[in-house]
Each structure stands twice: as C-alpha cells, then as structure tokens.
C-alpha cells in the first residue's frame, strides 16, 4: 500500500476521465471521414463538455431527487470501475480487489440503471420510451454479458482480470485456444450493443429510434455534461476491458514507474485506436436492425459464449 501504488490508482481513474472524450471524438471523426465528410475534429467532445458546464440547468417541474442523483451516481460508478480493472499496470493496485470481473460488470450496469430511472423520473413520453427500450435491451444483454464474464473466469480459473491478463500474455496456446477466440467475438458483439453503436442505435435524433438520447432528453447544463461524460467513460472502460483483459493484453506497465505509466497510457490508447478502427468499419458497413431483430446478434453472442464455455472444458 505504498504511495506510489495509490498514485498509480488515481492515475488510472484520471486516465479514464481525461481520455474518454478523446476516444469518442476519434471514433466520430473517423466515421465522418469514411463517409467522406470533414468531421468536427477529434477534440470536439471536450469543447462540448466545456460548453455544457457553462450552461444553465433547466429542471422539469415533475422531477424528483432522482433527477439530481442519477447523473452523479452514473458518473461515480464509471469512475469506480477503472479501480478494479487493469488500465495502466498489470499488477493489482490498492482497492482493486473490491470487486472482480463480475463485480465490475455489475457496477457498469448500476450506472446504466441509474440513467434509466432518470429517464422515467420526469414523466415525459420520450424518457419513458428510451428507458423501456434500454431495459429491453438490458434483458437481452445482461445474461450474455454474465456468460461472457463467466467464460473469461473459467478461462483463467480465477475471478480477477489481472490473472486473465497474465495467462493470455504468458501462454500463447491459451491465447489461440478456441475458447478465447470465441469469447473475443462474443464480447465484441456486446461491446457494439453496450456502447450504442450500430446495428442498435441510429445516428439521427428521430425520437422513434432513440435509446440513449431519449433517456437524457430532459437534462441540460452540467448535469447533461456529467451524463455524457459518464457514457463516454463507459465506452472507454468497455474498450479497456476488451483490450487489456481479452484481445490485446500486452503493453501494460509492469513495474509501476512514472515513465512506465505514461507509456502504458499511450500504448493503451493506441491499442484502443486499433479496436476503434474495427468498430468504425463494422458500424459503417451495416444499417440499423429492425427493433424485433435486436435479439439476433445477441443470440449469436450468447451462443458464442456458451460454445466458449464448452470449448474451455475440453482444453
């Protein structure tokens, strides 16, 4: 429990805080570029957040204390998860055994749940639609997410993400085993769904398609900034889990020096850019699915997770 470790832990949270909007900006910029537009620049989310923090809060009459709490709860959850997962270092830092992989997943869900409640709280129709759709998606996504996390656990026979990371770095045979590859694909589908990418979300703001934006329609000012930042951090955290725990587990700092931490942060961002490139391609290549067909990619992900668990027992 040295000072250095505590500083590293804080640095992990700060990394997530600071770099999350950059990732979102990069993804949006690349999407525009691929579609032959100019794009708003990769720093646009920072500008948006700064603008929102300076705006006035307009509160609906029907809002209750949930309206005020939800953004704070969501933001706090998203700041808690980086404590539990390997972001910069590949050894456990203080308080990182507060929760294991499953706990991390549950805290992420808690954040989404708070926003769902907020959507319902103000009593507007659009909030209701957004919340109900998001809960429906949650019913489809949660079992698969838990199965994938269980699969990861069975892969390394341990519940801590750090052990999984070590296993995949040290044993190429475990990296290339069918169980691991299937889990990568299953988690990728979940990544697309949880971060609201196509084929689930629509890029327009037409009400009938909205899921994410409908829930936060009633918010303004700093609260809206907190919510947007929270969703960007969720995307960053999921990307981090995908890279550091599953797909590209190399490049984490092993000794915890300052230079090492900075290099790890940079390396993490570069690896995330690789994943972001794939996400951008996948998103550009498809169109939005009809609502009743949302189950199809999720059923495929479920099946892949089950296959991974079965394949894991046969190694």
């Amino acid at each position: 429990m040295s000072v250095r470790d505590v500083l590293l832990q804080i640095a992990q949270v700060v990394t997530v805080l600071v770099l999350a909007p950059l990732l979102q900006g990069v993804i949006l910029q690349w999407e525009e570029r691929i579609q032959r537009g100019r794009g708003p620049g990769i720093f646009q989310p920072y500008r948006d957040l700064r603008k929102l923090f300076g705006k006035q809060i307009v509160v609906p009459n029907t809002a209750s204390w949930i309206y005020w709490c939800a953004p704070v709860v969501a933001f706090t959850c998203m700041m808690t998860v980086p404590i539990l997962i390997p972001v910069l270092t590949d050894f456990p830092l203080p308080l990182s055994d507060m929760g294991d992989i499953l706990g991390g997943g549950l805290i992420l869900t808690l954040g989404s749940f708070a926003i769902v409640l907020a959507g319902l709280d103000s009593g507007s129709a659009y909030g209701g639609i957004g919340s109900s759709r998001s809960v429906m998606l949650g019913i489809l996504v949660e079992p698969t997410l838990i199965l994938v996390l269980v699969g990861i656990t069975l892969l390394a026979k341990a519940m801590l993400p750090f052990v999984v990371n070590h296993l995949l770095v040290q044993q190429p045979s475990a990296y290339w085993s069918p169980a691991h590859l299937l889990l990568v694909f299953a988690f990728f589908v979940l990544l697309l769904v949880e971060t609201d990418r196509l084929p689930i979300h629509s890029s327009t703001h037409i009400e009938v398609y909205m899921i994410e934006e409908a829930r936060i329609l009633e918010y303004s000012g700093p609260l809206l900034a907190l919510l947007k930042w929270a969703s960007m951090m969720k995307q960053f955290v999921l990307f981090t889990i995908f890279c550091n725990v599953l797909t590209l587990p190399w490049g984490l700092s092993q000794h915890g020096t300052a230079i090492g931490a900075l290099a790890a942060a940079a390396g993490l961002f570069v690896r995330m850019l690789v994943v972001a490139l794939v996400v951008v391609f996948v998103e550009t290549a498809q169109s939005r699915l009809r609502f009743f067909r949302y189950q199809e990619p999720l059923a495929a992900s479920f099946m892949l997770a089950v296959l991974a668990i079965a394949a894991n027992q046969l190694r």
Partner: protein
C-alpha cells in the same frame, strides 16, 4: 490409440477445426438465405477435409490424405455445386415462413451443445479418457447431429432439409475422423459416393415436388394425415 499420444499443438489444431465446423453449423442454423446455407456448408466441408488431412499427418495414416482430398472435392465442391443448381432452378431464395425465429434457434442450439457436452463428458469419463480431444470430438459430433435434427424440424424449405441431412452426415464424418481414423478406406470412400447418389436423388425428387405439388415448402405437404 492416436488420441492417447497427441501433442498439444495437434490437439489444439483439431479442437480449432472442430469448433470451427460447429460454428459454421450454427451459421447455417441462424441464416435466412439459402445461399448463405450453402456457403456455410461448403466452408464446413473444407474445414473437415483439412481436419482429415491433419489427422492423417499426425497419426501417419497416409490413406487419410486421399480421403481428405476426396472430401474436399466431393463434399466441398461437387455437392454444393449440385445443390446450387437445384436452388438456381427454383424460385425460392430464402425461408419465407419460419417456425422458430433464427435467434431462438441459436439459443436452442446452444443448449443442445451443452447437452451433448454433458453426455460426451460422461462417456469420456467412463472410458478414462475424460478431458482429452475425445470428449471434444464426441461433443462436436453429437451436437452437429442434434443441430442437424433441429434444422430438419424447424426448416420448411426442401433444400434446407436436404442441407440438414448433409449436416448430419458431416457431423458423423467429423467424429469418425478424430475417433476412428483407422476405419477401412473402402467404407469411407463408399460413404462419400453414397452421399453423391443421395443428393442426385434429392435433385430428382425436388423436381417432382415442383412439378406435381407446386412448391417445395413442406407447409404444402399436408394432405396425408391420420
């Protein structure tokens, strides 16, 4: 026995190919379009041919090279070509009516795989070979069978049912390559040609279906009851 002295690399190669074939069977289960079926079946046959060659290489069964080449040629090229010709002559391109949504089929298929795994694990443990490629081979063989039966039960197009039957045969072939690579060559070759005859007969029957019944969907075949 071959499986008792398998190197880890060989074991992981076999398991990769077997799981890949199972995955392709799921792709067949979850797709709407007949062309997608056919392509998945082709890919699956090629994977099984590669597996056959790999088993021949690691186990020094040189006749399996011939089997692998013939499988790749007949199961991977000739059969899909014949079926493609049948599809091209029909006016259907996809399953029009679904008894069970593809996504539910996928989930059901996942549970069938779990069931097959439990059975194979039990068998493997009773033989003392639990935890090796044997259990994997048995699991994949049984689950491809179960998925094939699911396809037969759920699909209504004649071509889908034919492909379901071929998936059944593919499953047995996959299992037999890993479990009994020493099976007499004659049997394997005759089984291969037997498949060819079956598909040709199916082609003729589908033509009769179109000519006399008017459609290839089994929803129209409801006149014989009781």
């Amino acid at each position: 026995m071959l499986l008792a002295h398998l190197s880890p690399l060989a074991a992981s190669l076999f398991s990769l190919l077997a799981i890949g074939s199972l995955l392709l069977a799921f792709v067949m289960l979850g797709s709407h379009w007949l062309k997608d079926y056919l392509l998945a079946f082709m890919a699956e046959s090629w994977l099984i041919a590669i597996l056959s060659g790999a088993v021949g290489y690691y186990g020094n069964y040189h006749e399996l090279y011939l089997v692998a080449v013939l499988t790749a040629f007949f199961r991977g090229l000739v059969l899909p070509y014949l079926i493609w010709r049948i599809i091209a002559r029909l006016s259907v391109e996809r399953e029009l009516h679904v008894t069970l949504q593809p996504s539910s089929c996928l989930v059901l298929g996942a549970f069938l795989v779990l069931f097959a795994f439990v059975v194979s694990n039990h068998l493997g443990n009773s033989l003392g070979l639990g935890g090796t490629v044997v259990v994997l081979a048995l699991t994949v063989m049984l689950s491809m069978k179960l998925i094939g039966f699911l396809m037969l039960a759920v699909r209504q197009e004649a071509i889908s049912q034919v492909l379901g039957l071929l998936v059944l045969e593919n499953g047995i072939f996959l299992g037999s390559q890993i479990l009994v690579p020493g099976m007499p060559l004659l049997i394997e070759l005759v089984l291969l040609f037997d498949l060819l005859v079956i598909v040709v007969s199916f082609g003729v029957l589908v033509r009769y279906l179109v000519a006399h019944v008017g459609s290839t969907s089994s929803r129209e075949l409801r006149r014989l009851v009781g």
